[in-house]
């Protein structure tokens, strides 16, 4: 807690952001997010949208893996469910965008509930394998349920349209994705101040003790799976509107690993961790490309440095795990703590 933040009421005690400094910084963030599209070019807006989608999905996985302690490698497949739901609704029924996204979330949630069933019996690596199996089954469904998914060729999605405005550029999609992601992140942050969220944490810390405390494991584990998949489904829906083509190969296993890596690199079991992890995993390969681009090298150097970049990215991840096992959020927390007492203590 920040120095000088005396809590004088229960309301204050319960607030998510409790100091003026936090409010001020949040205002700065809001202004930055609002102003960003007017200064950024198409490339940066594209990356912003991609980061927003990845934050939404990573936050979902963080609920399951970071907070409830259930390892899942099925996040990409759940995103696939959301994406296919949105694509099919958009193509066949032409229902409104927000309804489609919600439907994508709910259908993915149903998928998550089914996949979550083994979680009562198996944990850790065994559960991870069970979720891989689920994603293989889902991949098969995506590829072979021709009447709904369009088989291997997939579905082409029309641009999202709200009140006659077509969301066909990154600039416009930014205004759709960033608020949705912000709401989802806020929802997750609030979740862990409720009975449900605390039950998740209790299950993570020791599930038998949690049961002794009166937490029904099946219900809460399934709920965690459901919520996580809902987040993935909505993120997948946004993905469908963003890339506008959904095929079975759009959501490979490596994508699930990407999200798990984002949760771990960012810091498991913290909201900020999921955000930082998603930003890191999405932006570092691009940042490395920019750095290589600035080096005064010939065009052939791009070719030589491409694999080097991949190695550097991998080394950075390993570096974080070794030197900062609590993730990026811990680095962030340390920076914040430094400034809490600044300039009185260096």
């Amino acid at each position: 807690m920040r120095i000088g933040t005396a809590r004088s009421s229960y309301r204050h005690d319960e607030s998510l952001f409790d100091s003026r400094t936090q409010h001020a910084w949040l205002a700065v963030l809001a202004v930055a997010l609002l102003g960003f599209p007017f200064f950024a070019d198409e490339y940066w807006l594209y990356l912003a949208c991609l980061v927003a989608i990845n934050i939404a999905s990573t936050t979902g996985l963080n609920i399951l893996t970071g907070y409830t302690g259930l390892v899942s490698l099925g996040q990409a497949a759940f995103m696939g469910i959301g994406a296919y739901t949105v694509a099919a609704l958009e193509q066949k029924l032409g229902t409104p965008v927000l309804l489609n996204l919600l439907a994508g979330g709910f259908v993915a949630m149903l998928g998550g509930l089914v996949v979550g069933l083994p979680s009562l019996r198996v944990k850790g690596l065994y559960l991870a394998i069970a979720t891989i199996a689920a994603s293989v089954v889902l991949h098969f469904v995506f590829a072979n349920w021709h009447s709904v998914t369009g088989g291997h060729a997939g579905i082409t999605v029309a641009p999202a349209e709200i009140l006659g405005v077509s969301f066909d550029t990154s600039f416009r999609l930014y205004w759709l994705f960033v608020p949705i992601t912000a709401l989802m992140v806020l929802g997750a942050a609030n979740l862990f101040r409720t009975r449900i969220g605390r039950a998740f944490i209790a299950i993570r810390d020791r599930d038998i003790s949690a049961e002794v405390l009166g937490i029904p494991l099946l219900r809460y584990k399934l709920l965690s799976f459901g919520l996580s998949s809902f987040y993935a489904g909505v993120a997948g829906g946004m993905w469908a509107y963003f890339f506008r083509v959904v095929t079975p190969e759009s959501f490979p296993l490596i994508m699930s690993i990407f999200f798990l890596a984002a949760v771990i690199v960012g810091g498991m079991g913290t909201i900020l961790g999921a955000i930082l992890g998603a930003v890191f995993m999405t932006m570092v390969p691009e940042a490395l490309k920019l750095i290589v681009g600035w080096l005064p090298l010939s065009a052939d150097a791009t070719l030589i440095l491409s694999p080097v970049r991949t190695i550097v990215f991998g080394a950075l991840i390993v570096g974080f795990l070794v030197f900062e096992p609590l993730g990026l959020q811990e680095i962030w927390r340390r920076i914040r703590r430094f400034f809490h007492l600044w300039p009185f203590r260096a």
Binding site: F39, A40, D41, E42, Y43, W44, L45, Y46, L47, L50, A143, G151, H152, A153, G154, T156, P159, D168, T169, S170, F243, R244, V245, T247, P248, E249, S250, M283, V284, P285, E286, A287, K289, L290, I291, W294, A299, D300, T302, L303, S306, P307, R309, T310, G319, F320, F323, E324, I331, R334, I335
Partner: protein, 389 residues
Amino acid sequence: MRRTVLKSLLATAVLAATAGLPAAQAADKEIVIGGSIPMSGVFAFAGIGIHAGIQDYVKMTNDAGGIEGHMLRYVPEDSAYKVDQSVAAFKKITSQNKVNFYYGDSTAFSKTINPELDRAGSMIMSGASFATELNDPQKFPYQFIAGPDYTQQFGILLRYIAQQKPGAKVAFVYSDTEFGRDPIESSRGVAKELGLNVAIEIMTPPGAVDVSTEMAKLRRARADYTIFHGYILGPIPEFISQSRQLGLQTQFMGTFWTMDNSTVMQMGEAAEGFMGVMPYNYYYDDSASAPMLEKIRSMRTEYQNVPYIQGFLSAMLYAESARRTLAAGQEMSAANLKAALNSIENFDTGGLIGVPISIRGNTIPVGRIYRADVQAKRMVPASDWIVLE
């Protein structure tokens, strides 16, 4: 250590933040070729060749004075063969340059970026994909394939088979991927029209290693010809060696991505007699009708793979459509560039393709059958050039 990590993070952040500064605007008299090139990742073997091919053609053209006073500029980005990174590269290159031509790395990218191309209306695109779906000028008006699509590749193989052995029994073996399934359905009809009998269609799971079950099916079908599609190499050698052990009399064939000289030769002894379709002449073709390959050999003395030739030809076709557009005094818009591309009739590629080419629709429906000669470590022509109508 932590401070160092922090410092390097901060440096990365600052670099990333300042990268949005507007890049140098493209000069007016410049033709820009952008590219999402898979220089790393699973498709790097092709990306590296494609990159070198485009680079060499650009250099060659600029050394000769450019096109109607315009210099070519090639702006590549590594896509790692991932759609999100390919699109990021596209957005980055197109927001910082006035791009006229673009090279895409995959079918998924070609489909994803299509609405952007339609909306921009300022560039045309080709790429590493030979997907049949892209050969639809209505749906993909600003894209083309620098060769025959997969169905046309099958068509060329089937025509060759029909000539060699009328009424032959043919087997299709393909992977359970979008790439693998692509030509299968449409080729059934083609085979029937040519009087061939598709004895069996075998689909293998992606990355299959054990093919004994599939082999048993293939054996029962007793096909005269077996066409593989949707693979680069594996599990083709496994099929061939098992069939040799079983004494199966069938001629194995492949399509473009299997048919690079180095890929076929990786099969070792199993490669002997392996056949397939290739729309281009190989790097080492030294016939008098291929002066461009001679130039390539003088620039690069070591073997260049077929993706190199594909990249080189793509750049050549970009340049030709730009030349025709500029010569007609027209604006370099996507519609004009594509119309110029489609006006190409009996065009001499300098021997990259052994016959003059015409671009109807979105493809160049031409190819030749080659056979592997393991002793010489080369692919040798087994047919004349086959042009589909």
